[in-house]
């Protein structure tokens, strides 16, 4: 429990956490399966491995090492009188001598014999069976009391991995009798063989052992091949879509090559021709495996090694060509390949493992260690197949791919987490910068607003000052001068003061809130001076439509408008000798893109000659003021026929 807690806390790293979960998710079903079989194995008493085994190697004269040869061989009853039995201990493994085998090496048949005693006076099991963990050799046959019970020619070339499980004939199961069980299999004398532990007994118990072994020796490796193939295809798909990171494609190729190299778990390759080509394919797959796995691992190096990579591919191609059955180099090509594979792989992997540790790149190190585990496990397989290891042990090579893939997933997840972390940090810093910028902008805006406010106030102050100075100031000053010289009559004084007051009213009216409505502006002029105009004997005809607001009508512009109209009024009162004055304002061009307001001031007075110089200055004044408002003014008069002033204002001033 303490250990588990320690492992749990030691693996509490963001990169490993998910991997730990995955390990738990995968490991748990395995554990449960194991416990299940373990429990079932105790259902019935477990049979003990058979002891007291004898062996006879029967020399064969002419049998050929092929399917047809073995087909007759498995049924051939030997001359047991010639047998020279010797006691052996199982598992029995005879390793191959380190010499190159030849096709013409003499054949032999190994006989393993044991005796199974059914005790008298005890119930005989309904079914009994013989079970052998593994036979590395050829097509086996099982004989009971000298009779052939079962033989397996199926896939005989590859019969190094399938456990043997054969039921004993029911008629022989008699209490008190002794059964002689022989298991025979042909071998090349030069190549060696291996024969695992043997169990004989209640079929219920042996079946469990057989199933358990099948699971680890056949079913799970098959599943592994499929899983790795699937992961390879996913990686390929991702690599093709991603386009940037070559490592996915490299892993995909390694996985596919690995799956092909391990495809011997599937199908029957007994046919001689197929076996030949399949064997060649399988053999060169090892070289390709070394090549693709190295390419994959190299990709984690900081530097690029294009020449080395090219060399690795060239090597794999070379091996493929060399091991083709076309040359009839047979097993020599294979042996050559194994040696070169070992040399090349150890050289490349050692070099890059050294580099990984030198670069102190965590990812690179993990990948290199994982990749190095693969040839080590392959070495285990070689030892295993060449019968230098107990045939009872299980081939671990198929499981090695999980290590590489696990390491890769770990690295990818670390990269993903790092990327995500840096993205989060980037976002946070962007957010912060945005906030900072916003604050700065707000501050700037506030300052600008303050400046603008100040500017407006300043402008307004200057405008009022100017108006006061030009209007009332000047009028008062000139009248003061006149008064000081005693030249001012009281009527003149009253006129000057009234003028000043009018001017002041005009300024005040221009400051009144009129909501950009020029009708109200003109109306306030009538309100101020209408009475006086009428007192001067002029009838006012007022025609003021509802008008669109003029956005530019601020106090300054309002004063200009007031002055234009006031001057027009003053001119009419002073010069026109009119009896009627008509003021009208109408919206114009409301449906067009240049809406405006037309203000007309018309009188029925005596009119004047437009070319007369005397009136010219007053008219120029009007024109100048109109131009300031970007308005068009038209003044039309004929002597004796009144005067018409038309002021065309625009809603929008061109900027």
């Amino acid at each position: 429990m303490k250990l588990a807690a320690w492992v749990w806390s030691a693996t509490d790293d963001p990169g490993i956490r998910a991997l730990r979960l995955a390990a738990l998710l995968i490991g748990l079903p395995f554990l449960l399966t194991f416990l299940f079989f373990w429990y079932r194995a105790f259902d019935t008493p477990a049979p003990l491995p058979v002891a007291g085994v004898e062996r006879w190697v029967e020399p064969l004269a002419e049998t050929r090492f092929n399917t047809s040869g073995f087909t007759s061989l498995v049924k051939q009853i030997p001359d047991f009188s010639q047998a020279r039995w010797e006691t052996v201990t199982l598992p029995d493994a005879v390793s191959a001598p380190p010499i190159l085998a030849t096709e013409s090496a003499p054949l032999a048949r190994v006989w393993i014999r044991t005796r199974y005693t059914l005790p008298a006076g005890q119930p005989v099991p309904a079914r009994s069976a013989v079970y052998v963990t593994r036979i590395i050799g050829g097509a086996w046959s099982v004989w009971v009391n000298g009779k052939l019970v079962d033989a397996n020619l199926e896939d005989w070339r590859m019969q190094w991995n399938v456990p043997l499980h054969v039921k004993l004939p029911a008629e022989d199961l008699v209490a008190g009798s002794v059964l002689t069980i022989d298991i025979a299999f042909p071998i090349r004398q030069s190549e060696g063989y291996a024969f695992g532990s043997m169990y004989v007994g209640d079929a219920n118990a042996t079946t469990r052992l057989f199933e358990m072994r099948s699971l680890w020796q056949n079913i799970l490796p098959k599943a592994t091949v499929l899983i790795i193939l699937l992961l390879g295809l996913i990686s390929l798909h991702y690599g093709l879509g991603e386009g940037q990171d070559r490592v996915y494609l490299r892993l995909a190729f390694a996985a596919i090559v690995w799956s092909i190299g391990n495809s011997l778990y599937f199908g029957d390759f007994t046919d001689d021709r197929v076996a030949l080509w399949f064997g060649a394919l399988n053999d060169s797959a090892t070289a390709w495996m070394a090549c693709t796995l190295s390419l994959f691992a190299i990709d984690f190096d900081r530097e690029r090694w294009p020449r080395l990579e090219l060399g690795l591919v060239a090597y794999a191609v070379l091996v493929t060509v060399i091991t083709l059955p076309l040359w009839n180099w047979g097993v020599n090509g294979l042996v050559f390949q194994y040696y070169t594979n070992v040399v090349l792989t150890s050289a490349v992997l050692s070099f890059f493992t050294w580099r990984a540790f030198k670069q102190d790149s965590h990812e690179f190190k993990v990948i290199m260690v994982a990749v190095c585990s693969l040839p080590l496990m392959a070495l285990h397989t070689v030892y295993f197949v060449s019968a230098q290891r107990s045939p009872d042990s299980i081939e671990i090579y198929p499981y090695s791919a999980f290590i590489v893939f696990g390491a890769f997933l770990y690295v990818m997840q670390r990269r993903y987490l790092n990327t995500r972390q840096s993205l989060i940090e980037l976002n946070a810093s962007l957010d912060q910068r945005l906030k900072q910028r916003e604050t700065e902008l707000a501050e700037q805006h506030r300052k600008l607003m303050g400046i603008e406010q100040e500017r407006i106030v300043q402008q307004e102050r200057q405008r009022i000052m100017r108006d006061m100075h030009d209007g009332i100031g000047t009028a008062l000053m000139s009248s003061l001068t006149l008064a000081e010289h005693g030249e001012l009559t009281s009527a003149r004084t009253a006129a000057i003061l009234r003028e000043s007051l009018d001017e002041l009213k005009l300024v005040i009216d221009s400051l009144e809130p009129i909501d950009e409505d020029i009708a109200t502006l003109l109306a306030s002029l009538r309100y101020r001076f209408g009475e006086r105009i009428e007192a001067a004997g002029l009838k006012i005809v007022w025609d003021m439509a509802e008008l669109p607001p003029l956005p530019w009508l601020d106090p300054s512009n309002a004063l200009q408008v007031l002055r234009i109209v006031q001057e027009a009024f003053a001119n009419i009162i002073k010069h026109a000798r009119a009896t009627e004055i008509m003021i009208s304002a109408r919206p114009t061009g409301l449906d067009t893109d240049q809406p405006g307001v037309m203000v007309r001031i018309t009188d029925n007075g005596i009119g004047f000659d437009l070319n007369s110089a005397r009136r010219g200055r007053g008219l120029d004044n009007l024109r100048r003021r109109a131009a300031d408002l970007n308005a068009d003014i038209a003044i039309d008069s004929t002597p004796g026929r009144g005067t018409r002033i038309a002021l065309q204002l625009r809603v929008e001033l061109p900027s």
């Binding site: 009144e512 409505d517 009708a519 309100y527 439509a545 509802e546």
Partner: protein
Amino acid sequence: MSKANPISILIVEDKPEFLDEFSRTVSSAPDMYLAGTASTLAAGLALLNGEPVDVLLVDLGLPDGSGLELIREIALRPTWRERCEIMVVSVFADEAHVMSAIEAGASGYLVKDSAPTSFLQQIRELHAGGSPISPVIARKLLGRLAALPPSLGIEPALSGSTDVIELAESERRVLSYAARGYTYDEVAELMGVTRHTVLSYVKRCYRKLQVNSKTEALYEARRLGLVRD
């Protein structure tokens, strides 16, 4: 106007030259009677203890306070409120001053430099029902009234009927014309009603604004806990 029933007038004005001018003008009018004058707010308030008059002319800028206080005080005295029309006199009659005077209870205002005939004419008009309204004030009233319920300040007999809407619409039109500078006579002609009706519309607008400002004041007072429901 018969001589037997002249318009009684009070003048509260601190500048002697204006007070003299106004007094002289009023005294010269056969149909008017100057009931009294005051040149300070205190003196003006003291006058309120006497008989109510028909028209009060009041300057807003008095040396010891605002004329508005006098106007508000009148609004609190039922006998005065019933009878007295308040006219603010001012040099410029600018919008800010006039609006607060109307809200306090004034129903007219005149500009100080008006010719004496016009001056008397305006007093008569005010007494008869209403005084001219400046376009700027009309525009302001238009905006203020648009935000108020149409039935505000209308006699209970009328409120709740469709007439209220029509009435409000007529008031709106009067103000709209006034804001565009039409005289009451012109408005009466344009709307096909009598001048008197037009004046009554304007007066009602004034009253609405007063009522509203009172409502707001009351609301404010309640909110501050000065008045109980």
